[in-house]
């Protein structure tokens, strides 16, 4: 111990790598939320084909490791479409997380009282209109705890991008640990950065719950 000044001297590297991690996290979170919402609405639609497609997507993408989905996105799609590891990571992690987001969003929408659907219909709202203005705003409140804890899982999963050669926090720390011969200090520092980030996300749950609280 006592050799932790290597961490301070490498601060620029840690900062750059953390920034890559943050970008991958935010972009794949946006993708996963959009796709997950689409899947949840498909699952609740009146068309059997859409319901079936959504259920199959969720089964397949939750049934295999995120790493395998990332391999599809990098070795196959990325290779054929000329994506960078950064792009492949966002698509792969986003698709993997979307399957979980779909279930969380669906559970939130189903938790909205049946009477709200019936009342909206009785008032002559179209389905698109009442989903957007009545059901989703109420469902969001129910979703928040699961949505946040699932997002911390996604934040940790961004480390998988190291396997496809992206120099995000985990991959860069591993390289640095090898080149400096100080794995304890370097990997501990990386762990602390992740702990701060995941704890911050967990604490943000309270903020979002207050933000979406019922205002009477």
């Amino acid at each position: 111990m006592g050799e932790f000044d290597i961490v301070w001297r490498s601060r620029a590297i840690f900062w750059n790598a953390s920034w890559v991690t943050i970008q991958v996290f935010i972009l794949s979170l946006i993708l996963a939320t959009a796709v997950g919402l689409g899947l949840a609405l498909m699952r609740m639609s009146g068309f059997r084909i859409l319901r079936w497609l959504s259920a199959t997507f969720v089964w397949v993408f939750r049934g295999m490791p995120a790493l395998v989905i990332l391999f599809f996105s990098f070795f196959w799609l990325g290779n054929n479409l000329g994506w960078s590891p950064f792009q492949s990571a966002i698509i792969g992690l986003g698709a993997s997380s979307a399957a979980y987001k779909a279930e969380i969003i669906r559970a939130g929408l189903l938790a909205v009282d049946r009477g709200q659907y019936e009342a909206s219909e009785a008032l002559g709202f179209t389905k698109a209109h009442y989903m957007r203005r009545i059901i989703i705003p109420q469902g969001i409140r129910v979703m928040i705890p699961n949505y946040i804890s699932n997002s911390t899982l996604l934040l940790k999963s961004t480390s998988l991008a190291a396997v496809i050669g992206l120099t995000e926090l985990t991959g860069r720390s591993r390289q640095l640990a090898n080149s400096t011969f100080q794995p304890i200090e370097i990997l501990t520092a990386a762990g602390v950065i992740y702990l701060v980030a995941t704890s911050f996300l967990t604490l943000s749950q309270g903020y979002f719950e207050r933000h979406f609280e019922l205002k009477r």
Binding site: V60, P65, V68, F71, F75, T170, G191
Partner: protein, 218 residues
């Protein structure tokens, strides 16, 4: 897409199946014991034990499994040579440390779900605390523990694929070798995906079976 090619490479990928299953079973065994101890520590009357269990859960659940694996592989042997493990046992150690944190939560929530009034009844009947835990609480909490426990098991099965990064020859590593040998990614990945889907689906059915087996018989 070439279906014949998929059929050709499935057996080659399956050569990694015993390693994948080995990683999974060892990690499940060790993490179940560890998770039970952590859950009991969390509910113990000793403050230091409770504090340790909470800190452990926060630490492990706040860090990516991949980083834990690198830590066990690169950093722990620097503390002492006794931690110098083969890649396989490094992966088992990392997966067990990681899964134990999640199993502790599953087990604790199951134990807490048993109504406290039963403790008073058991005490009135003259049962000791250990007897009460073993004969009254555990049989009832098992039913509640099964779904989250099996959910964690499915996650652990999928996460065994991370052992690839420390060169454990499980199915994902064999598949990446085939990809670089054949200059072809789609068929090997489809074959791998089908095998994982079969395994996770099997575990989902296993969960349904366990839930039936532990259902209340009235």
């Amino acid at each position: 897409m070439d279906l014949g090619f998929i059929a050709d490479i499935v057996p080659e990928i399956l050569e990694g199946l015993p390693t994948t299953i080995g990683l999974f079973l060892w990690s499940m065994l060790l993490s179940t014991v560890g998770g039970l101890l952590l859950a009991l520590a969390r509910m113990s009357a000793v403050g230091a034990l409770r504090w340790f269990a909470v800190a452990y859960g926060w630490l492990i659940r706040g860090i990516p499994l991949l980083l834990i694996m690198f830590y066990v592989f690169f950093a722990l042997p620097e503390f002492s040579r006794t931690f110098l493990l083969s890649p396989f046992w490094t992966a088992v150690a990392a997966l067990s440390l990681w899964t134990a944190a999640y199993q502790a939560e599953a087990i604790r929530s199951g134990i807490l779900a048993v109504d406290n009034g039963q403790y008073e009844a058991a005490e009135a009947l003259g049962m000791t605390r250990a007897h009460y835990m073993r004969r009254i609480v555990l049989p009832q909490s098992v039913r509640i523990i099964v779904p989250p426990f099996m959910g964690n098991a499915i996650n652990t099965l999928k996460q065994t694929s991370l052992a690839t990064v420390i060169t454990v020859p499980e199915m994902a590593l064999i598949t990446t070798r085939i990809i670089s040998r054949e200059f072809n990614a789609l068929e090997p990945l489809l074959a791998l995906a089908i095998i994982y889907l079969a395994l996770t689906t099997l575990l989902v059915f296993g969960q349904a079976g366990l839930e039936r087996a532990f259902r209340l018989k009235v």
